[in-house]
């Protein structure tokens, strides 16, 4: 469960998120929609505790922003899969190595991770491209690779920040369907986007943000 209770955060240089109240239950699929600069990325950063609220509380699973110790934050993040606007694939590693990276962090042995990575790459439909470097993949393929990297550690939550960013409508739609498939298997999905036309037909809860405030 993700729960923001009256959470506020201000950047020193002006922008602030104020009094955010939001509860996302386990297994839910929620869209976060809002124009550019409205605070979507900032809100996701609060959830994976990249920043901590100035006031109010952010709760994710058993962790709470007002009691979590700094060295516990990595543990929280291991239960979250991130697909982000500015967190790209590593340019000097091929698809396989990029997808395998989270397993190295968790401490998988090389022999155990092979099958898992291959399976994950298959699930996002990139079989055969294991040896491609990121710039040898199309934009849509890169996004799916990011999804594979986020999913491989079997996270409880997927946070997707504009995952359809510069994809054509068809490819963007495919990606959302992939996320829905993951959601159907029990993973909570919280996806930020300003692409309303993509979202409205999907029949999921939509949360709207404007100038740092939620609207209902």
């Amino acid at each position: 469960m993700i729960k923001l209770e009256n959470a506020s955060y201000s950047f020193k240089k002006g922008f602030s998120l104020s009094n955010i109240d939001l509860t996302i239950d386990d297994g839910e699929f929620v869209f976060l929609i809002g124009p550019t600069g409205s605070g979507k990325t900032t809100m996701l950063r609060l959830i994976y505790m990249n920043i901590l609220p100035d006031s109010g509380v952010v709760r994710v699973g058993k962790y709470s922003s007002n009691s979590i110790k700094k060295r516990k934050i990595p543990q929280l993040r291991r239960s979250i899969g991130m697909i982000s606007q500015d967190y790209h694939l590593l340019a000097d590693r091929n698809l396989f190595e990029n997808v395998a990276l989270p397993l190295h962090v968790i401490g998988y042995s090389k022999s155990d991770m092979g099958d898992l990575v291959i399976e994950m790459i298959e699930e996002v439909g990139l079989t055969g491209k294991e040896n491609h470097l990121p710039d040898e993949l199309s934009g849509g393929e890169q996004q799916r690779a990011c999804l594979a990297r986020a999913l491989i550690k079997d996270p409880d939550i997927i946070l997707a920040d504009e995952p359809t960013g510069n994809l054509d409508p068809v490819t963007a739609f495919d990606l959302v369907k992939l996320l829905e498939k993951v959601n159907a298997e029990g993973t909570t999905v919280f996806m930020a986007s300003h692409n309303y036309s993509l979202i409205k037909s999907r029949n999921h809860r939509i949360v709207e943000i404007h100038g740092g405030k939620l609207r209902s």
């Binding site: 994976y48 990595p74 543990q75 239960s79 991130m82 967190y87 962090v105």
Partner: protein
Amino acid sequence: MDKFLFLFGEGIKNLWRHKLTVFTSVFSIFLVLVVVGVLFIAEQNTQKLIEYMRSKYKIEVFFVDSITDKQAEQIVLEIRKIPGVYSTTLITKDQALQIYQSQFNEDLLEFLDYNPLPSSCVVNITRKKDGLLHVKPIINKIQSMKGVDSVNHQGRLINRIEKFYEKGLLGLSIVAFAIMLVTVMIISNTIKLTIYSKKDLIQALKMIGATNSFIRMPFILEGIFQSVLGASLAAGLLYGAVFGVNVLLGQLTSFTLHVQWTFLGWLFLIAVVISLFGSSRAISRFVK
């Protein structure tokens, strides 16, 4: 174990990516360790070198012409008692003549009807190093004895050499310390560069939930690789140099360097400590 292999591999890759800066780090470590190594070797050989120099050093005392052998013997006994004197050898007029004849192969008495050579005494000084050697008082004392005509010595020379040697060691220590500080900076800069070039990886690892120590480990290992590399090169050079110097010295003198090679272990330790200082300096600022 696999986790460690992964981190180890990352560290090696870092090295390869910045060959030139890495070369600078390795070279500066190498330089520090060579200087420190020379200090170690010099320190280990101080005693031996000074003993060697002192054993070569002697004071020649010439007695007045009128002295009898008995009187000379008496004076020699007194010289013997002066602190700092190790041994004395009396050379009587007759012996001096014999030495002269055997060395120059001519008979002085053939064209002189008397023996012109004075009786003399060779004084060796204590070899044990116990602070700087002060020959001046010894010489003064001998000179003031009755029956002594003149004293031949290089008193200032040995004193100067010993002083120079000790100053040299001190100077070298200061140099070593200075290069060490510079090396810490250089290593820290190299690591900083790697960290900078791997911002993407660091960010990715943070997102995934890697702990700080996991993220830092490759950079620390990179520093250690550099230092071990520098230390190996330095150890090789020192070993070769001592070997070469001993071959040379062996041809010229009876003095050779004697080295306890266990000090190389210390060199490696120093190298690792320097690299830890360097990398932690870079990491603490850039991987928060």
